[in-house]
């Protein structure tokens, strides 16, 4: 199987673990006419079963931990986890709060970090490109 087909048809599932909505509306903005990621074959799907990429936002509230793990398990391999935003990457301004279990990489393995509070839509698209690179590496290692 060619990896090219894989790269050009990434289906994305958006998982919010307690974010402030800032990253989430930028992810949505990526879909809208101005940025239109569908032209790269990227599209948001409604269930993790269909997803290739998990877009995770938010600093992971304690109540969300089992759900994050379950969603990760529900996503079929090969899969890539992308963290959008500072909170998800390293806790951000909420790091010291008593109700956090994150950042996300302490709960599930993360491949791509897109920092920013929130990152610009362009940065999110670039993050997806980074995910492609990661997939290529996986192919070279014979994982795919």
């Amino acid at each position: 199987m060619s990896l090219k087909a894989f790269k050009r048809a990434l289906w994305v599932y958006h998982l919010n673990t307690g974010s402030c909505n800032g990253c989430d509306i930028e992810i949505l903005a990526v879909l809208t006419p101005r940025y239109d990621v569908e032209r790269f074959g990227i599209r948001l799907v409604g269930t993790p079963r269909h997803a290739d990429v998990l877009l995770v936002t938010g600093p992971v509230i304690k109540q969300m931990v089992p759900r994050v793990k379950r969603i990760y398990a529900q996503t079929p391999d090969p899969k890539v986890v992308m963290v959008i935003g500072n909170c998800g990457s390293e806790g951000g301004v909420f790091y010291e709060s008593y109700n956090l279990a994150g950042p996300i990489d302490q709960i599930i393995p993360v491949t791509v970090y897109v920092p920013g509070c929130p990152p610009r839509p362009e940065a999110i698209i670039e993050g997806v490109a980074k995910a492609w690179v990661k997939l290529e590496q996986l192919e070279q290692q014979g994982v795919l």
Binding site: K62, Y95, E96, S97, Y98, N99, L100
Partner: protein, 178 residues
């Protein structure tokens, strides 16, 4: 309904509550170019007079808007402020009214106001779980924000021994815990 001046409002509290009123303050701030006033009234009442004060606010305005209850841990007591707004719907005539009541730590109980203001349930629930004040007669006794496995008897906004223990939160590397 007749719109009273801030001074008249304070006066009406004095007549209604009598000795139940500890003190009061009117704070006025001039805003922007035209220097219109942002008026806040602070009413400090005794715990016994609290219900009567809320009833009196309901007299001043048919449906007073209870925005939120704020709570502060003052060491030996907990202070609740019921933030009301009255006279809304009229251009620049709204008044923010803070009803302050102090509860000693030995007896952290306050009667509910949900019979007068049905929308107050959320904020009373939050007050219960965050500062540990028991709201007597609250129609819904569950937690609002905290997870179900959050330990009993720990209240995040308390600063005494019932506050958060040190192992419940993290400290950024390189930062001193306060």
């Amino acid at each position: 309904m007749e719109i009273l001046s801030p001074q008249a409002i304070v006066k009406s509290f004095k007549t209604t509550l009598g000795g139940g009123l500890i003190d009061s303050k009117i704070s006025e701030r001039e805003i922007a170019v035209k220097k219109n006033l942002f008026i806040t009234i602070w009413i400090n009442v005794k715990k016994e007079a609290f219900r009567k004060a809320v009833e009196h606010i309901c007299q001043l305005q048919e449906y007073p808007h209870l925005a939120i209850i704020s709570s502060s841990d003052l060491g030996d007591s907990v202070e609740l402020i019921y933030h009301f707004t009255i006279y809304y719907g009229n251009h620049l005539q709204e008044i923010s009214l803070g009803l302050r009541v102090r509860l000693p730590k030995k007896d952290l109980k306050i009667p509910t106001v949900t019979d007068l203001i049905p929308g107050a349930v959320f904020t009373e629930r939050e007050t219960q779980e965050m500062i540990g004040v028991e709201v007597v007669g609250i129609p819904d006794n569950r937690r609002l924000f905290l997870p179900e496995d959050f330990p009993e008897g720990v209240y995040p906004w308390r600063t005494d021994e019932k506050g958060l223990p040190n192992d419940m939160f993290r400290v950024l590397p390189g930062r001193k815990p306060k």
